[in-house]
C-alpha cells in the first residue's frame, strides 16, 4: 500500500511524516512523530484521552485521519509546557492531585486549556459540560473540575490571558 506523505505543523514546528491512508492522527502522533502524550482510551471518540487541537479547535485525534493534517496546525499536550515551565493548568493538576493513573490527564489538560482560551471565567457547570467528553475512571472528576476553576481564577488574578483569537 502506498504511503502518504504529510507536511504539517505540530506545536509550532514544521513536521513531515509518512502514513497509511487509514491511519488516524493519533496513530501518526504516537508512531512516526513519537509524541506519546496523547493516549488511546477507546478509539471511538468517547473518552477524550487523545484530545488535541486542530487549527485551534478541540478534537479527538482518534477520529481524524492522519492525512487530514496536511497543511494544518496541530497542537498536542507536548506543546503545553514551555520547556521546564509547566502551564498553570499542569501545575494546578499536580498541586491538587487532579489525577491518579494519568491516562486521561493529557486529554483533560488539552481540553481544559481549550476551554480557558475560549472562556476565562467558566462556571462549574460550564467546566463539567465542556469536559463531558473526557472520561476519568479514577478521580470522580471533582478534583479535576476544581483544578480548572482554580487555575482560571489564578490566571485572571495574574492577568494571564491566553487566546487563539
Amino acid at each position: 500500500m502506498a504511503k502518504l506523505h504529510v507536511s504539517t505543523t505540530v506545536n509550532d514546528e514544521p513536521m513531515e511524516f509518512l502514513c497509511e491512508p487509514n491511519d488516524t492522527m493519533l496513530d501518526a502522533l504516537r508512531g512516526p512523530l513519537g509524541l506519546t502524550g496523547s493516549k488511546e482510551g477507546c478509539a471511538t471518540g468517547d473518552c477524550g484521552a487523545c484530545s488535541i487541537t486542530l487549527n485551534d479547535r478541540l478534537v479527538c485525534s482518534c477520529l481524524m485521519l492522519a492525512a487530514e493534517a496536511e497543511g494544518q496546525d496541530v497542537r498536542t499536550i507536548e506543546g503545553m509546557a514551555e520547556g521546564e515551565k509547566l502551564h498553570p493548568l499542569q501545575q494546578k493538576f499536580l498541586e491538587v492531585a487532579a489525577l491518579q493513573c494519568g491516562i486521561c490527564t493529557s486529554g483533560m489538560l488539552v481540553a481544559s486549556d481549550a476551554l480557558l482560551r475560549k472562556n476565562s471565567r467558566p462556571s462549574e457547570e460550564e467546566v463539567r459540560f465542556w469536559l463531558a467528553g473526557n472520561l476519568c475512571r479514577c478521580t470522580g472528576y471533582d478534583k479535576i473540575v476544581r483544578a480548572v476553576l482554580e487555575t482560571a481564577a489564578d490566571m485572571r488574578e495574574q492577568g494571564i490571558r491566553e487566546s487563539w483569537q
Binding site: N22, G45, L63, M64, L65
Partner: protein, 289 residues
Amino acid sequence: MAELRYLAPHSLDEAISAFAAGGNTARIMAGGTDLLVQMRSGAVKPGLIVDIKKIAEMTEVEQTADGGFRIGAAVPGAVLAEHPRFGKVWPGVLEAVNLIGSTQVQGRASAGGNLCNGSPAGDSVPAMVAAGAVVTLQGPNGRRELPVEKVPAGPGRTNLLPGEILVSFTLPPQPSGASDAYLRMIPRTEMDIAVVGCGVSLTLKDGVCTAARVGLGAVAPMVLLVEAAAQALIGSRLDAAALDAAAAACRAVCRPIDDKRGTIAYRTKVAGVLLKRTTAIAAQRAQDN
C-alpha cells in the same frame, strides 16, 4: 482488504467526479466522527474516502438574501454555534446540532453527516425537519433539492442517488413571532443517544398559533414529520386541549424499537411529553421574538 485511497478535493465538481468513479465503496467524509468509528469496527471498508472539508461551499454558513440561512453540509457544530446570527434565528436547530457528542465531537461533526449517517436518533434531524430545511444534493446528473424529511430511507440508509453528495441545508427566514426548540430525552445529561428527540417550530400571532411543524426522532425507523401534531397546534392558543391532541398525535405515529435505552411503551409515552415541553419552549421564544 482493498487499498484505501484518500482524496481532499478543493472543488465540488472534483469531489463528484471522484466519488462517482469510486463506486459503491467510496465514502464521503465530513467530520468523520461516524465514518472513522465504522471503519474501526469493520462495519465499513471504504476503497476511497472523499474529504469534503476543503470545499468552500460545504464549510460555510451564510445568511441568504431573504433572511434565511444556507449551511454547508460539512460545517461543524462548534462553527455553527459561533455564527453571530444563526442561533438567534434558529435556536432550536442550533441546540439540536450542539447536542451531538462531546466538545471534541462538536469540533468536527456536521449536520450533513448526522443526516447522511441515517440514524433514526440523529439529534439534528428532527429540528431540521421542524424548521422546514431543504437540502441541496449534487451528483453526476446535476443538482436537486429535497425536503430534509425525504432524505432518510431507514436505519443507516438515505434516498440519495448513487454518486450524489449532500451539499448544504437551506433554512427559511423566521417571521416575527416565530421560533423553534429541540429537546431530547436521555438517561444522563450528556454524551448519549436520544431515547426520543422532538423538534418544534411555530409562529404565534396575538397568542394564536398560526403555523407549526413537528419533527420526532428515535421512535421509528426514520425521523418523522408529524403533520397531525402540527395541525392540532395550529389555530389554538396552545391550551391544554391542543397540547393533549398534539401529544396524542405524536404517540400515534410512534413505531419504536425496544432496546437498552427504552422500551416501546416508554418511548411512546415520552414522545407526547417531549412534544408538550418542546412546544412550551418554542412558544416562549416566539413570544420574545
